[in-house]
Amino acid sequence: MIGDESGLLTVLQFADSALPTGAFSQSLGLETAIHDDAVHDEATFQTWLHRFLHHQLAPADGWAIRAVVRDGLYALRVDAMLHAMSLPVQVREANAAMGRRAVQIAAENFPSLEITDYAALVSTRRAVGSVPVVLALLAREHGIHWRDACAAHVFTSLTALTQNAVRGIPIGQNAGQRVLRAMHPEVTRAVDRVAALTEDQVGAVSPALEIDQMRHAWQRARMFMS
């Protein structure tokens, strides 16, 4: 668990849905589900978020944090793999845009050797830039356990999507908080799943989610970029 305050504060600042990476403008396929009426209230949103957690966040972003912090994979390799795993172009570009921004923020405020190096690779386009990779490097630097970093990142992503659901469906703020609270045990389950992922299972996203994310590019009257 988080032992010293510097690590805790780093995670609090960095894994914050208010971090200016532009997450508020990305629905990552949720808007398609709303448009097609698959998501229209608190219950259907919770089902959608559950699928997104276990069949998108965990096998992709969650794995990335484990790979860097626990398994010691090169950040550059994980960065390239995450990019290649995102087949839907809008998700790929959303992650790249948020990642580039996160790398800049980290380089400015937490300039370790590895972060500075990663930022240089991103600015010269040799790396894409990825939020979970940045958080993983910060976690490693500050001695934060990969499970804590993973849970923090995953929950932050769920929070950002819930805020978008509150505006986009719309549902009430209280409904949003209830959904997030219901996700707590699911986040633990998701981190357990990440811990057990084999090399072959990495990046296994739900095909239904991917189809929604692909279709979003052709959706008319969009509130969100993905």
Partner: protein, 304 residues
């Protein structure tokens, strides 16, 4: 070349393999011919057929044993040389029976040299109750070469007629450039017991899953729009069909065009009510792609 490469990696005489097939296709005197072939165990190649006037051989892979059982390991490697062209298919559906213990593993390696074309259009996968199937596919495509791959996962078979009763189906396909840069890493992991299968998008009347991955210099946003129109039209005609198409990017570090990352190829994912609905759509997409780079017509899905 492929034979040498495979021998080096020790794959040519892997005692653990249930079946292995290594093929090399080269362009010689206006024809595309199989210049290297090695088989081991339970995988064979039928005599190459020429389905049209393009000179492209159709390479039909056969598993005389009929189906896959637990612990089976298969390896298929096809190398298409520069300016050469080949179509790889199967004689019948890949049937994976109950696999207690070890999963069935199928490893596939496809390489396409400069200006070459490789199309891999196998029959659907039928995973029986309690089957565990792992397919690893690695495709290396030269920057000016073309590769098209399809996969169709049926709901499988169980004695009581219920659907999606396999224990695990995992299809992992990597598309990369010769220097190692990743274009896409596509993983489908379908585990009915762990999650309601509906989590993957399967519903009554939407039971089959199809994927088409393509890399070619001719693929741009205009092609992706054409494919999108095709999907939309077909959805209006076939109940239960739901599909999406997207552009694939060049690896990080490769210069990107002004339209962002949609330069390298495309991916189509489709959920549908049956094998023919999904297969027909993928073959139509394939036909649309063929029109972009040559004069070959739509592939006839009937076996030759």
């Amino acid at each position: 070349m492929v034979i040498d490469a495979v021998t080096r990696t020790g794959a040519a005489h892997d005692v653990e393999l249930t079946g292995g097939l290594l093929l090399q296709v080269e362009h010689r005197g206006g024809r595309h011919v199989v210049t290297g072939q090695r088989h081991q165990g339970a995988l064979r190649l039928l005599r190459p057929l020429y389905l049209d006037s393009s000179g492209q051989p159709c390479l039909t892979v056969v598993n005389p044993g009929g189906g896959y059982v637990g612990g089976d390991r298969y390896r298929l490697a096809v190398a298409v040389g520069s300016e050469a062209s080949a179509l790889v298919t199967t004689q019948s559906a890949t049937k994976v029976y109950r696999t207690p213990g070890r999963a069935v593993v199928q490893e596939q390696t496809f390489t396409v040299g400069a200006g070459g074309t490789l199309e891999v259009i196998p029959d659907p996968l039928i995973a029986y109750q309690d089957a565990d199937y792992l397919q690893r596919t690695e495709v290396v495509v030269s920057p000016d070469a073309r590769a098209v791959l399809t996969d169709v996962v049926t709901p499988g078979w169980a004695p009581d007629g219920s659907l999606h009763r396999w224990s695990s189906v995992l299809l992992r396909t990597t598309l990369a450039r010769p220097h190692g840069g990743l274009i896409s890493l596509d993983t489908l992991h379908l585990v009915p017991d762990d999650d309601a299968v509906a989590d993957h998008g399967f519903l009554p009347g939407r039971t089959h899953l199809g994927t088409l991955l393509a890399v070619a210099p001719e693929i741009d946003w205009a092609v992706i729009e054409v494919v999108h129109d095709l999907l939309t039209k077909r959805e209006a005609e076939v109940t239960g069909l739901r599909a999406g198409v997207t552009g694939l990017a060049e690896p990080a570090g490769v210069a990107q065009g002004t339209r962002g990352s949609a330069a390298a190829g495309l991916a189509v994912r489709v959920l549908g009510p049956g094998t023919s609905a999904v297969e027909d759509l993928l073959l139509d997409v394939h036909a649309a792609l063929r029109r972009r780079w040559g004069n070959q017509g739509r592939l006839n899905a009937r076996k030759y």
